[in-house]
Amino acid sequence: MISKRRLADLVSTRLMLAATALVGVTVLFIAVMLFLKARPILATNSLGDLFLSSSWRPSRGEFGLFPFIMGTLWVTVLAGIIALPVSILGALYITEYAPPRVRAVAKPVVDVLAGIPPVVYGVWGLVALSIGGIAIGFNVLSGSIVLAIMVIPVILGVSEEVFRMVPQDVKEASLAVGATKWETARNVVIRSSLPGLAAATILGFSRAFGETMAVLMVVGNIARVPSSPLDPAYPLTALIANNYGEMMSIPLYDSAILLAALVLLLVVLFFNIAARLVLIKVQQKWA
C-alpha cells in the first residue's frame, strides 16, 4: 500500500510530464499540419525556386519566398541592434546606478510600456511617420524602430530582474580590488547574467514575432530583397497576415502562405534552440 504522500508525488510527477509532452506535441502537430498544407506547392515548385528566388508573382505560379525571409531577417536583426544596448544599459542604470527614488518610478513605467498592445505602437509609428518622418519613410528602419520599441520594455524588464539576482558579495569583490562601477557592471554583472539576458532577448523577440500588426503598418510591404535599412521590406509575418484568406482563387496561393508560416516556425525554433545551446555552453564555462 503506497502512502498518500507518495501517491501525490507520483501523480504530480506524471502530470508535469504530461503537460510538458503536450506542449511539445502541439508544436510538432502544428509543424506537421503546416507541412501537409504546404505539400501541393512543394510538389510543383522546386525548393530552390521557393526559397532562393526573388520573384513573387502568384498569378503566374511563381512563389519566391526569398524577399520575405530577408525582410524578416533585416527587420529583426536591426531591431535587435537597436533594442539590446538600450535595454541592457537601461536595466543596468535602474539596478546599479539609479538612486532609490528614480528606481521606484522607473520600474512601473517599464512594466506599463511592456503591457501596451503592440498594435498601439504600430498606430503610433504610423502617426509619427506621417508627422515628421517623411525622411524615414515606410521601410526596414521604421519597422525595426517600431519593433525595437515593442521589445525594449520586455527585454529591459526581464534584464532588470536578472541583474538584481547578481549577489551583492560578488559585486563588492570586484569593487574591493579597485574596479570602477562600470568595470564591475561589465565584468561581473553582465557576465554572470548572460544566460538570463539571452532568455530575456528570446522572450522579447518571440513575443514580437507574433505581433505583426505594428510592424506591417510601417515597413512598406514590397516584395523585394532590401539592400539597406532605408529600403522597404515585406517580412514573412506581414505576408501571412496580409494575405491569408484573401486571393484564394489563385491556385497554390494558400499553400505558399502556409509554407511561409512553416518557414517562420522553423526559423523561430532554430533561433530558440541555437540560443539554448549557446546558453548551455556559457553556463558550463562560468557557472
Partner: protein, 331 residues
C-alpha cells in the same frame, strides 16, 4: 612611515539615523595583525567597510570622521576611491569568486589596473596563488571556473585575488567562519606569513583565533571602542571589565576533559568506531578528547559525532600532524 599604518580619527557611522560606530579613535600598527573582537552587531564589519570605503555602497549610511593612510584621508571626497581600494584590500566572510576562471579571478585586479603583458600576468597569478597556498591544487586547471573550487579553496582564491593588486593593508572579515578546521588553519598560517609584508586587520568571533594570530587587539562593544592594545596585555590583563567579561565568557572556560583517547596511526573508519565506543561509556555531559592524525578524520570525526547528536566543543591543531577533537556526550 613609522609603526602606524592607519589612523582612525573620530569616526562615526550611522545607518538611517541608527548609530553603528561612535567616535572611534584608533591607530592600527604597521605590518602586524590587528584583531577586532566583540559581540555580534557591535560594528566590526562596519569599521572594516569604512576603512576601504565599501560602505559608500550602503544606502542610508552616514559617515563622519577621518581615516588616514600614509598622508591621505581615505574619507575625503577628493581621494580616488578605486586607488584607495587597491591599497586596502578586503576579504569577506563568505568567499565570493567572480564568475570567471581561476586564472581570470586572480588576474582581474591587475588587468583593471592596466597590466596587459601576458608573461607578467602569468607571473603575478602564479606568485599570488603560491602565497595563498593554492597553487599546487589548481595549477593544472587554471582555466576552469572558480565556482567549482571547494569553499576553503575559494577563500584562498579570494586571498590571492586581493594580493594580486599589491595592497598595503588587508582587511579580513571573519575569513574562516565558513570554513572547516583544516582550511581555517591553512588561512591562519597564510596570514601569519603575510604579516611581514602587509598590515592585516582581522575580524573574528573566535577568541582562540585572535589569541593565535593577533599582535594587537581591538575590542568593540555596541559601536564603542572599549579597549585596544598589544595582544599580550589585552588578553592577559584587560583593563576594562567588559573586555574581561567578553574574553572569559566566550572562551576561557576551557572544557575539562573526562576521557582522552589517542587514535594516531588509525585510518578513517576505525577512528569513528573507537570514538563512538568511547562515547558509549560516558555519562551525558561528560567530555571526550580524541587525538587524530589521519587527514580525513579531522573533519569527518566531528561531523559524524555531531550527526550522532553529540556536541563538538572544539577542533584544534596540536602540531604538524596531530589534531584534537573535543566532544561532549549528548543523548
Amino acid at each position: 612611515m613609522n609603526d602606524i599604518c592607519l589612523r582612525i580619527h573620530g569616526l562615526n557611522v550611522s545607518y538611517d539615523g541608527h548609530t553603528a560606530l561612535k567616535n572611534i579613535y584608533l591607530d592600527i600598527p604597521h605590518r602586524q595583525i590587528t584583531a577586532i573582537i566583540g559581540p555580534s552587531g557591535c560594528g566590526k564589519t562596519t569599521l572594516l567597510r569604512s576603512i576601504n570605503r565599501l560602505i559608500d555602497l550602503t544606502d542610508g549610511a552616514k559617515i563622519r570622521g577621518e581615516i588616514w593612510l600614509d598622508g591621505h584621508n581615505v574619507m575625503s571626497d577628493r581621494e580616488d576611491v578605486t586607488s584607495i581600494r587597491k591599497r586596502i584590500g578586503l576579504i569577506s566572510q563568505k568567499p565570493s569568486p567572480l564568475p570567471m576562471s581561476i586564472y581570470d579571478n586572480v588576474a582581474y585586479g591587475p588587468r583593471i589596473h592596466g597590466m596587459r603583458d601576458r608573461k607578467e600576468l602569468d607571473k603575478t597569478v602564479r606568485s599570488c596563488l603560491e602565497t595563498a597556498g593554492l597553487w599546487t591544487e589548481v595549477k593544472d586547471r587554471l582555466q576552469s571556473p572558480a565556482t567549482r573550487l571547494s569553499v576553503g579553496q575559494q577563500q584562498r582564491l579570494c586571498l590571492a585575488r586581493s594580493l594580486a593588486v599589491r595592497p598595503e593593508v588587508l582587511l579580513c572579515d571573519e575569513p574562516t567562519s565558513a570554513l572547516d578546521p583544516v582550511s581555517s588553519q591553512n588561512i591562519e598560517n597564510r596570514l601569519i606569513e603575510l604579516k611581514k609584508d602587509y598590515t592585516i586587520v582581522i575580524v573574528t568571533h573566535n577568541i582562540h583565533q585572535a589569541m593565535r594570530l593577533a599582535d594587537y587587539v581591538v575590542h568593540l562593544y555596541l559601536g564603542e571602542l572599549v579597549e585596544h592594545g598589544p595582544a599580550s596585555e589585552v588578553f592577559q590583563r584587560p583593563k576594562q571589565d567588559r573586555t574581561r567579561a567578553y574574553i572569559n565568557g566566550t572562551v576561557l572556560t576551557k572544557p575539562r576533559t573526562d576521557v582522552e583517547i589517542n587514535l594516531k596511526g588509525k585510518v578513517c573508519p576505525l577512528n569513528f568506531v573507537f570514538a563512538k565506543a568511547a562515547l558509549e561509556n560516558l555519562e551525558i555531559g561528560q567530555v571526550l578528547k580524541v587525538i587524530v592524525d589521519y587527514p580525513t578524520a579531522i573533519t569527518e570525526v566531528p561531523r559524524a559525532m555531531e550527526y550522532d547528536g553529540h556536541k563538538v566543543l572544539g577542533v584544534k591543531q596540536l602540531n604538524e600532524t596531530d589534531w584534537e577533537v573535543i566532544i561532549q556526550k549528548r543523548e
